[in-house]
Amino acid sequence: MIWNQKYESMDRQNLEELQVKRLQETINRLIENVPFYQQKLSALDVQAEDIKSISDLSKLPFTTKEDLRDNYPYGLFATPLKEIVRIHSSSGTTGQPTVVGYTQDDIEIWTELMARTMSCGGVSKGDIVQNAFGYGLFTGGLGIHYGAEKVGASVIPISGGNTKRQIRLMEDFGSTALMCTPSYALYIAEVAAEMGFDIKNSKLEYGIFGAEPWSDNMRREIEELLGITAIDIYGLSEIIGPGVASECEVQDGLHIFEDHFIPEIIDPETGENLGYGTKGELVFTTITKTGLPILRYRTKDISVLHQEKCSCGRTSVRMERISGRVDDMLIIRGVNVFPSQIESILLDISETKPHYQLVVEREDSLDQLEVQVEISEAIFSDEVRRLESLERKIHGEIESVLGISVNVKLVEPHTIPRSEGKAQRVVDKREL
């Protein structure tokens, strides 16, 4: 079912006219209210009237995560703080957190987009939605919550974790839809089997999953084990949270809600727009948000855009499932992990820059990160307890900084493969 027939099935010409008009309004809003953009746009000598078609988008400056950090916390907000009704934030594990603010209008837009997402996934009035995305500063939980309520479903705001309780409530309350990260869905299936709950033949019918990379194979596995139809959703807090794009029942790419966000695929090196059908970095411009409008935000996610019309009837551009990252960022159990963070922890501990490698595997549907550290004379000792305490120290530091538990393994020098003299930092063995 299509939630908003008018906007989701708009013909391309009308949509582009709408996008250009909204983009111009956004530019004017930024020039008036956000010194950061005012300076950037004036340096490029660009004004709203210079944007006459979507192809003029490339005249606009990019925005990066660093820009948000540099303007922490409220520097990029385009409204006075009293107009902001909600503040979300990233966890800040990579340094300064990024803060995003929503006006009442933004919340309404977000709710509308999440309602579209629910409809994409088959959820409607009468469904019982078990929302196992985390509630809190993370946008996942509340984003889903508002959308599910908007379509009239009954929401169980159970948040993440406490898997046995998830399964008991699922059985007792008769949940018909589950929303969480895909790896957590698999974990729920496993625990349900251990508890003797036949999840496959339960009332559960739909699953809406996102916030971490997964694959079609994993989808089939989830669908098979849980007996549901599973769709992939995409979003990021800097743009709005979940609700940027969603798969429909056709399960062939994610429909981008283009009346609110303009997508581009660029070459991450040159910044050049690569157009449709070519793999590159995904970039979004928000055109309706008022609290925190963002021009050409570089997501660092790698995808491909497709323009062909989908058989579901929606006319929007579809993005392929995220196939990787421009940087080496890993998502481990829902936590963003950058190799540079591990590197600085190792540097603090060993006082020399060690060679290391991060190996990610998925065991029993949970991600396991192994940090392999090449031993050097500086950190070697003839006593086992010293080396073990070094391993424990690395483990403890990583856990306190990143909030995840990793396996630390000391390895012999020169055993981590190097290419062009540079070690390969990340080996992802997850078969998603």
Binding site: I375, S376, E377, F380, S381, D382, E383, V384, L387, E388, K409, L410, V411, E412, P413, H414, T415
Partner: protein, 143 residues
């Protein structure tokens, strides 16, 4: 007396021990005593060899992570209770043993034991006072 011991970091992978011994063998270095401490993912091979400096250089050259530490080599009666006597001395003096291992051969009828302790000078002294046979580095290397 202080004896040089070579320690080598080994990942738990098949063939690594063979690599070390082959390296030493082809350099004509003889192993006098050895022990391995292991955990689930790595091990530390500790060696007493006849030419410690040469062994250290060659192993480094071959890319092994090596360090050199000093240990005490003591001769104890090769009869029941022989080792216990030496340990009793260290216990009495409150000298902690990090680890210890035994030689394969004997010296003038004594069984040989290697101790790694933090207080190496004091360990030497107290054992000497109790008339234990402390071996000099040369004696050990030339066994």
């Amino acid at each position: 007396m202080k004896v040089k011991q070579i320690s080598i970091f080994l990942e738990n992978k098949s063939g690594r021990l063979a690599d070390v011994t082959e390296t030493l063998g082809s350099a004509e270095i003889n192993i006098r005593a050895l022990s391995i401490a292991d955990t689930s993912d790595f091990g530390i091979l500790r060696l007493i060899v006849d030419q410690p400096d040469k062994a250290l250089a060659i192993l480094k050259e071959e890319g092994f992570t090596v360090n050199e530490t000093e240990v005490v080599a003591v001769g104890v009666d090769d009869t029941p209770g022989g080792l216990a006597k030496a340990l009793a001395v260290l216990k009495e003096e409150e000298i902690n043993i990090e680890y210890m291992y035994a030689f394969i051969g004997r010296a003038s009828g004594d069984a040989l034991v290697v101790f790694r302790v933090q207080e190496i000078e004091r360990a030497n002294q107290v054992l000497k006072e109790r008339d234990f046979n402390l071996l000099s580095a040369e004696e050990v290397y030339e066994l």
